[in-house]
Symmetry: C2
């Protein structure tokens, strides 16, 4: 691809105005670019730090077209977007990265898995669910996943025994073998318009088991060097297989017998890459802006070990967020505090995060866990 951009007047459009769009916008603004956010919520987090907001939904073809037409490049903070108008405009030569065809593929977790499988990338055993009988093909326990619309643990169900079939997802789905997980692993991979590819450090994700949301990320992962290399190679292979332009979060399982299996891919900045803001020479957010504006990728070097903790809305609260413990938490050396500026909290909603840097990874994790105990996001309404 041979794209010539005028960086002095570069305009970037972002579909989605949550925390990912917010930090993407801040990095684009750092480089002097003009930023417009498309989001249905007036004054969403990203709009607060951008030049312009188009108020509109992610399934509104007119607003999507307006965003693409007004900007030199359009990119995504989320994949749950109507791709039809975007595909048409992409075919007409508009700069939309990652390609809306890729976004569409990724929206369907079954097709995503099938493509990776065909390209020789190791994935857990999986099978499309055409009839209810298919749910029993692998025996029990088994994982059932909705093909579309899932995120943060939603659209995934564990069927422990045949009795759980009543809990099965009704929508289009597939089943997946229940992997014996040693660690959940993630890697951010960037690829720019010219095909330059670059891989971030391998990290470990720890989950809040109540709701299956990743709540702690440790960089770098505590794994052997040989495994690290293999994970990096597989992650890069995934993005090459997808012919992706942008930044991608590759989520993987490391099994108890040290097998590596790709779980799924996010075609955008990813929660597991937040640590890069403070810990890497180039953040995942700036890297995305570079990738989609045909700039060389920045160095992904880890400057310091770190641990990232999500600040999730406390159970039992709604309404305007009320955050407790900031003063005490900010006494922790090397702690960076992010709060997204969402107008409403709800239980387990991602409201902010903190990252702790320390020369010792164990110390970083310990400090991050202390911060997690201190910082509580409550709300103006008690449920």
């Amino acid at each position: 691809m041979n794209k010539t951009f005028n960086y002095s007047t570069m305009k970037v459009g972002i579909i989605g105005g949550g925390q990912l769009g917010k930090i993407m916008a801040q990095k684009a603004k750092k480089m002097g670019f003009h930023v417009t956010i498309l989001d249905p919520t007036l004054n969403c987090p990203a709009a607060q730090v951008s030049d312009k907001q188009i108020i509109g939904g992610f399934h509104d073809p007119e607003k999507l077209a307006q965003l693409v037409n007004e900007n030199d490049v359009t990119t995504f903070e989320l994949e749950h977007v109507d791709t039809s108008i975007l595909k048409k405009m992409f075919d007409e030569g508009k700069n939309i990265y990652p390609s809306p065809y890729l976004i569409e593929l990724i929206q369907d977790k079954y097709k995503q898995k099938e493509l990776l499988d065909k390209k020789g990338i190791p994935v857990p055993a999986y099978k499309k669910v055409d009839t209810k009988a298919c749910l029993e093909s692998f025996g029990f326990p088994v994982i059932q996943k909705a093909r579309k619309g899932g995120y943060d643990g939603k659209g995934v169900v564990l069927l422990k025994t045949k009795d759980d079939l009543s809990k099965a997802i009704e929508a289009e789905s597939f089943i997946e073998e229940l992997v014996d997980i040693q660690k959940e692993i993630a890697v951010m991979v960037a690829r720019n318009i010219e095909g330059e590819i670059s891989c971030y450090p391998v990290v470990e994700m720890l989950f809040d088991e109540r709701v299956n949301i990743c709540d702690i990320v440790i960089a770098p992962a505590r794994i052997e060097e040989s495994l690290r290399k293999e994970i990096e190679d597989i992650s890069i292979k995934c993005i090459e297989a997808l012919d992706g332009v942008g930044i991608f979060g590759v989520e993987l399982f490391l099994t108890k017998d040290n097998k590596i299996l790709v779980n799924e891919i996010a075609p955008r900045p990813h929660n597991s890459g937040h640590y890069t803001i403070e810990s890497c020479l180039t953040s995942q957010f700036e890297q995305l802006i570079r990738a989609v504006t045909n700039l060389p990728l920045g160095s992904t070097k880890l400057i310091s070990p770190s641990a990232m903790v999500n600040l999730l809305g406390e159970e039992g609260y709604n309404g305007e967020p009320v955050i407790e413990g900031i003063h005490e938490a900010l006494e922790i050396p090397g702690l960076s505090f992010h709060f997204y500026g969402k107008k409403e909290t709800s239980p387990f909603r991602k409201m902010g995060h903190i990252t702790v840097l320390d020369e010792s990874l164990e110390e970083a994790l310990k400090k991050a866990q202390i911060a997690k105990e201190i910082l509580k996001v409550k709300g103006s309404v008690k449920l």
Copy 2:
């Protein structure tokens, strides 16, 4: 001082909307705070990344009062501000940091120098100019400085011989001995509302001699450990002497015989502290926001040596900025590119900067100098 803030609804007002205000705003937004900018220029750099702009000048008491009244805390990106209304509001208990009394003191470089001198801080020999004859008190060569209004080398003149007296500044001024400079040095010092004080690494400033604007900053300074300690101690003493709350750029001379003399103090983020964005655990901009909102100061630890280069408007151009060489410059590993989003360039105007991180300081400097050759900020109008 005992201030209780509600961090969930914290509103920060910033007087001045240039590059310093812009990055301050981005760091305040990172922490979820609401940010309002006071600046006469619609769509100034800081307003592009903030919630609100009040269009107004820095000498407009009504607009200054509006800013203070609408925000929990008000701070400054520049010191050339009418302080009368601010002093009145400060006395009434409004949160304005640094104190407008301090801003007023610093506006007068003679009073600033006199205070430091009285507190036992080493400064170059100086003398107030009451009559033209005073200009000759130290013989020649001698430096003459305007008491008020100078910045970036403006308001400073070197009188080499008696013949130069015709070039002398007419405004209120003082003279200063011409110091035999080995290096120009700077230190950022932060002090929060509770009096916690924290010092950044000592850095070296290199100047564009055509216009006497600092154009390269090297962190850490290449000096002996004993000198470093002494410079840090003097810098901290300065901010204690001023009873300052906020962040302060202390500019010093290291003489050829290794004497340390304080030149002047900026009561705000400073060009010599831009390297902290990428190179330190807490940037000078976040540190200011912490200091003035009664939060604990962050770690000032240097994560990596670095060199910062200002991108100044090329001579011979005005109008909309046209930047050349971005693609090539961004190929340099460890380079971070900042462009401020000013609508107009002019010769030597600060339009952006780059910071290069490298484990080797010499390598960082070499790469920064290469970037300086590559990146040129021209304009739409050729003069």
